[in-house]
């Protein structure tokens, strides 16, 4: 209950802010898309599994340390009140040209004005639609600053206790939209970079285009086939899988997004 109240307050404040300054310097330009470069590092993902023995993790680092990166692009469309995040058609690895994987059903849609989420993704081989009210992570605000894609960012930290991920996000001080890549949101500025488990996965904006959006935020016309679940049900599925993989001493990250 407490959580719910706090976050509706949180987004209420944001809405009030948007409503209070309808003609502030951002309102016309705060719309556009961001191309993120997502770098997966399979060794670091393995090393982050605390249930593997020290020897297994050291061996993984020794054998594949420098050679286990894979890069892809993703796109975030945003307005001050809405966002949609999806995989990009564009290839980030030149070696991937000429080969096509099946695209899984995937997008993460957020409406900050109505405080709702509508996420579609494949989880353990099944397509799910998560429709629920929006709950932002409990971010801790830190003091570091750096530049990402031309914007000065501050950092915030959140620990996902289900997937055991330590996430550092860098949010732009001059882009007051609470959106972000993957399922991240709820910071005073757009999240331009997110780092999971010290580089196991790094998502960094590398092109920001401010432009009027057309239909990019719309849901696909084709009806999405998938099982509708709530945010809590989603968390239960993930928690159960991670727990099973922990027992089997195998990585949990095959079959779901990191």
């Amino acid at each position: 209950m407490f959580k719910q109240t706090r976050f509706s307050l949180f987004f209420g404040a944001l809405l009030a802010f948007v409503a209070l300054f309808p003609e502030n310097m951002y309102s016309q330009e705060l719309e556009g898309d961001i191309r993120y470069l997502v770098t997966h590092n399979w060794t670091k993902k393995t090393i982050a599994l605390d249930y593997l023995s020290k020897q297994q993790r050291e061996r993984a680092a020794y054998m594949w340390g420098n050679r286990s990166e894979w890069k892809v692009y993703t796109t975030l469309y945003f307005t001050p009140t809405e966002s949609k995040y999806e995989d990009s058609e564009e290839r980030a690895e030149p070696d991937d040209e000429g080969y096509s994987w099946r695209k899984e059903a995937f997008f993460i849609k957020r409406n900050f004005a109505q405080n709702t989420l509508y996420d579609v993704f494949t989880l353990l081989g099944k397509t799910y639609i998560v429709e629920d009210s929006l709950r932002a992570p409990e971010w801790k605000i830190l003091n570091d600053m750096k530049e990402v894609a031309g914007h000065i960012c501050m950092n915030a930290y959140w620990e996902d206790t289900i997937k055991q991920q330590r996430i550092t996000a860098w949010f732009a001080l001059d882009l007051p939209v609470p959106a972000g890549p993957e399922r991240l949101c709820g910071l005073p500025g757009l999240i331009l970079e997110a780092d999971y488990n010290d580089g196991a996965m790094n998502i960094a904006a590398n092109r920001i285009q401010m432009k009027k959006l057309d239909k990019e935020l719309d849901l696909p016309k084709k009806k999405i086939k998938g099982k509708k679940i709530s945010e809590d049900e989603y968390a239960t599925i993930v928690r159960k899988h991670v727990e099973e993989k922990r027992k089997a001493e195998e990585p949990w990250f095959w079959g779901m997004r990191y």
Binding site: G65, R67, S100, I141, K146, E147, M154, A248
Partner: protein, 940 residues
Amino acid sequence: MKRILLPLWLCLLWLSPTLLQAQNPSRVTIKGIVRDTTEAEAAYATVMLLNPTDSTLVNFSRSDENGLFSFKNVKNTAYIFKISYIGHIPYQQHLNPSPTDINDLGMVYLKPISQELMEVVIRTAKAPLRIRGDTIEYDATTFKVPPGSTVEDLLRRLPGIEVAADGSIKAQGRDVQKVYVDGKTFFGDDPKSATKNLGAETISKVQVYDEKSEQAKLTGIDDGKKEKAMNLELKEEYKKGSFGKLTGAVGTEDRWAARGNYNRFNEKQQLSFIGYANNINETGVNWEDYGEFKGQNAFNDFDNGDFGFGYNGGGRYYSSSDNGLRNNFDGRGFTKNFGGGVNYNFDNKKTKYNASYVYNETTLDLDQLSLRETFLNDGSFTNTDTSTRLEFRGNHSIATRIEQNLDSSNLLIVKANLGFSNSNNQNRQAQYFIENNTTPTNSLLLDNGTLLDSWRLSSAAIFRHRFKKKGRSFAASAGYNNSQSDGRENIFSLNEVFTAPTRTDQIRQLNLNDNATEQFKSSLLYTEPLHKRWFLEAFYNFSHSANAVNRQVQDPELNNERITDLSVFYDFTTQFNRLGADIRYSHEGLNASAGLAGQRLDLDGRYATDRDMPLLTDPIKRTFDNAVPYLELEYEFPNNVWISADYTYNVSEPRLTDLQPIPNVNNPAFRNEGNPNLTPERSHSFSANLNYWNPASFANVGIGANFSQFDNQIIYNQTIDFVDSIGFRTTARPDNVSGGNRFNTYLWSSFPIVKTKLTMNLNGNLNAGRSPAFVNGIENETDNLGYNFNLGFSFTPSPKLILYAGGNLGFNNISYSIREDQNQKIQNHGANASAKWQFAAKTFLESNFTYSLFRNDRFDFKQEVPILNASVRHLLGPSNRFELRLAAFDIFNRRVSITQTGNQNYVVRNTASTLARYFMLSVSYNMRGYESKIKKGGWW
């Protein structure tokens, strides 16, 4: 008394927050104005309320164009009030619960970050600038200094820090009085001692902050004076280090073993040493140790530079990528082994370099009994062969590979392997021939000695260029291979034919074999994207190889006089050209290609009895042109189902030894002839595979089939005749036939019955094949039909116990069209069980039992081989660095190697003795320490 007090306490507890609320309102409005130090309004600054215990974000807002901000009607509690504003140091203030409805913070002033820090650190170096209160932190790793630089050199590059000629340091214009390393004073008080002596590469962070003056620290009275201090944080050492293992073991039956490895590494380099020696049939190291020896370079042997589909030209120089370092014992005989090597890897974003040297040797002592029955259209004969072999093989191997990213669009790979080997083989065979299972015909004694010295070089260079247009690329490769061998065979045979009177024949022969092969090859590849989903690939392959084989046969009993009709010298060149293209469609999980290539194979051979002697026949010059089609399809269904199918047309040239016209008669009962008129082997191959994976249930299934139909196959026709002076003599001669085929299907699957506890594995395969061959001029079609099933259960009741039980059934039916009454049904069945049990904190019991049954009913053959192994190991010492292990191998003392095969017109069974029961005690030391738990499945 207590009973009365309790409700009272509860009452008070309930009242207390209410009481507090009576003092402070429950909701509050927090407001204020943000200004910078020049009194200018800070418009649109981010203002935040954080939870004071853990900095969790509770609420946020923004100041308006006048710097005004407010949080309306928020919970009245303690907060960290925080402002971040571009170009300014983040402002932070602790707020207590407010006694009034409105908490007016008034003017809040922000301090600017110096322009220099902002521009240089944040924008140019793209380094996170950390600001913690008064501390400013630089990320040292983002400021590049030449290798070998000191911290002083590094500091000169940091904005806001000046280093004078004498080494004294100023930060933000003030002298740095103290330099700490990891928070501790470094060699006395002189700040320069650390900065002049420490290497820049050891530092991860540089922090600059104000410290109370020395006097204030002494007196405890803050005199307000601040001194600049600097802290150098050292890099974490986990990316650098060493590990290794050492094991020594002694056993009963004079068994012993030793092995060890040592690795040193840092972020870019890996250096490793490995060694082993034993007489327990480990001819090399296991996969895990081999992987750690090769390190980052363990999976790098795929770039052969042969571009285009189904490449099949002149690629005869496959040198096993593990340099013979891995255990490849085939289960027969007794071996003594010795080997070792050193490997070096260098890896960074631009360069990957590897160099290794490996030596290994094996001495084999083998006793084998072989029973072979050969079927003729009007009878059969049996050959009982008792052989003893003593063999030594030694091999040196040097390998190096460099992969260089010249820039973002150009890549160069150069690699070379050099090997030297020598072997010495003494083979004694006593053979006994029986006709129709009743009449002994002859006995043959063979005693051959072989010495062989050889070396080989293989090298390749591959260049790849990527054009600006995505998907367009060009690649070129060149390779040079050379191999030479020098061999000496001492042949002796004594044949006794049981005619009346008994006739004895003795042959002595000395073969001197010199072989030399040189090959040059090159390939080109161009890829062009035609459209988003369509790609065109065009390629050209060339290879030229020259072979010279000189076999001179001498008679040691006649003063080593040359035996002319068995000596041969031949010179053979093979040239291969192929030009082809394929088109590829790639979209939404569908990847399909179709291609066509035209190829020409030119063979040119000359045969004489010796070098510089007249040719025996006209030069053989032959050209084979073929059009080679190719199809491939891969499709990914939703829900983790993949299918793939392909069709290839294969053309492969005849082997050199099959082409030469002079017979090889090292064994009087078995004569190999060549056939200069052989044409290349051609076949159609189809294959299809399906894989399924369920990430939720952990189930895995794979099924597949492949089929090959030969248009033209090289087989060995046999002429078996009874020669009065020899007995049964088999003459094998390669020839081209059509009509052969091979078919193979497989299934593997793994299903969890109880997730993470009980898993079932079911595997099977079925293979069938038809091989035609002429036996004494009559065509014999041999049909093979084999099927194997394998079912197993792995059970993990607790993390301390893993059990496995399984069984397998194998059938191999062979039918001969010339002698259906001789059709064979070979059976190999088995059952196995294993247990791994951690029965005390650091003590493990490991045991496995295998039962094998070998049967062939037609020969009334049935043999059971039960093998039981068990061991107990105990970890001890700090970090479990020592392991003590007592192991018993083959407790029932029944180990023996049995193989049963049938082909063409024969069936053969080999039985070889090998290392049976022994007990062994071993002590191991592991620098990293042993894992104090049972290892579960190796998912990598």
